[in-house]
Symmetry: C2
Subunit: 309 residues, 2 copies
Amino acid sequence: MGFPRIRGDTVTDAPSTPTLVMIDKVTLAATLPEGAAPFRAVDPASNTINATDLGITRGDGIFEGLGVVDGHIQAFDAHLARLARSARMLDLPDLDLDVIAAAVRHSVELHAPAPFLLSKLVVTRGIEGSGIPTAWVHTTGGFDFDAERANGISVVLLDRGYRHDVAQTSPWLLQGAKTLSYAVNKSVLREAARRGADDVIFLSSDGYLLEGPSASLIVRFGNRVVTPRVDLGILEGTTQVAAFDYFAAEGYETSYELLTPADLAGADGLWLASSGRQIAPISRLDGQEVAIDRDLTDRMAARLLGRTA
Amino acid sequence: MGFPRIRGDTVTDAPSTPTLVMIDKVTLAATLPEGAAPFRAVDPASNTINATDLGITRGDGIFEGLGVVDGHIQAFDAHLARLARSARMLDLPDLDLDVIAAAVRHSVELHAPAPFLLSKLVVTRGIEGSGIPTAWVHTTGGFDFDAERANGISVVLLDRGYRHDVAQTSPWLLQGAKTLSYAVNKSVLREAARRGADDVIFLSSDGYLLEGPSASLIVRFGNRVVTPRVDLGILEGTTQVAAFDYFAAEGYETSYELLTPADLAGADGLWLASSGRQIAPISRLDGQEVAIDRDLTDRMAARLLGRTA
């Protein structure tokens, strides 16, 4: 089966059939032949990408991964806003977010009902020389994160190589854009596996905690919950924002700060948050055991999975 | 027309028809049905890539660009060796270089004869979950670099964000591998254009000259010709090596060194070298005029284009 699995998951149901929707009107400027639909469902096993697409020859494009719980697309507006922000950082044409949103919904509706789906939305710069982005939504299901939520994940700290202020000094490095150039984000997972770990938290070259390769870091210090500042060239995590809403509603103080590994010695809980896994407690950091709070994690997971928007 | 153009070129002939050869046996471990060919020519306008290929969803793969002069594939062994090196850095399966070489030759033979062709060879990690790389060769023609060779190119220095020793300290950042995650290599060209320039030389975050986004830097100081050391996390340029052969044959001393922008004040000539453009003299650096030596550039270009291997 060629459908995506997220690291650490197990497939509980029979593998679900993914859906693939190609988006033909992805930019505001795009014009279609009269009567043509702006997007269309296609066989997900078919080949729909040309070998000269800049998305594949140069990793030149952007993406979002959207969680779908019982048919509700989570943080939909936040994902679309981040997609548009990434498009601007890459000087892509203005996107038609209404068409894109409709295509995501269509992809979800076509999928067999499941408790949790993940919709991957991709926009590339398109076939070289065409100036027309290529875009699609691919929706898959069959994930189960119960084990990692109960037992936690083992994480290592790895240098991302950039200073904490690189997004300000060198915006052409695209830090903070969610690009398709994720070879390093996959490479660090292989390095983590070599070290016996499941996932990674990136460090800036000058020693600040950043984010995971596909997740945000959340740290609890007593009644205070902290995540690294987004001006560090990291993504604003849609799930992290929702988790902060949970914490704020429960009376915690939440803030965006500069954090170093030394700060974690005083932490009362660490989590990675992402659209795919929602929330995963960290039970081991660079080989050292970290206490996990199953009750708090379960309450937060229930709240995150209960979102209807 | 969707065929690739290289920055700075002009198309002199009628656009040539590209050729596309998909490689079905790209790894040593691959097995094919009895009688199946290890590669096959396909219509280059057809879609041959699945939307879940990790090459496009994660920029997770590697490539080489091979120059072809009058049917001779330049530095063929050096390109194949570098491809294999990139594959090891990305933990890809061992590649079947004999099949890959035959596929490149087939792609070149299928193309209408032209003075200069460029063959782009790509190997991705393949469809997610399959464990089987996707690979192809795309050969195009119609380039003409006479103008940039005669007049030179305008280049700006841009921070790459990494220290000069990052390939040693943090190998998971894949510096020195030729990956498909080239969104930054394209972004810096847009930044160069905003500054009125044609191309870029990357600087390490601690101030050393590195390479262009798709070319090597060559600097002449009198009778001495220098290029940045390859342990700086940069690619060993196949064309730079050929240019050094030319200089050595002409009695120049050649060396790999640490260079800073301040060192360029004493330089007698600067070039960018790559398989696509072969050799381009730099006539402007960060807005300051740089003297170009047309005779030397022409002699070097003749030598580079005269290579039969």
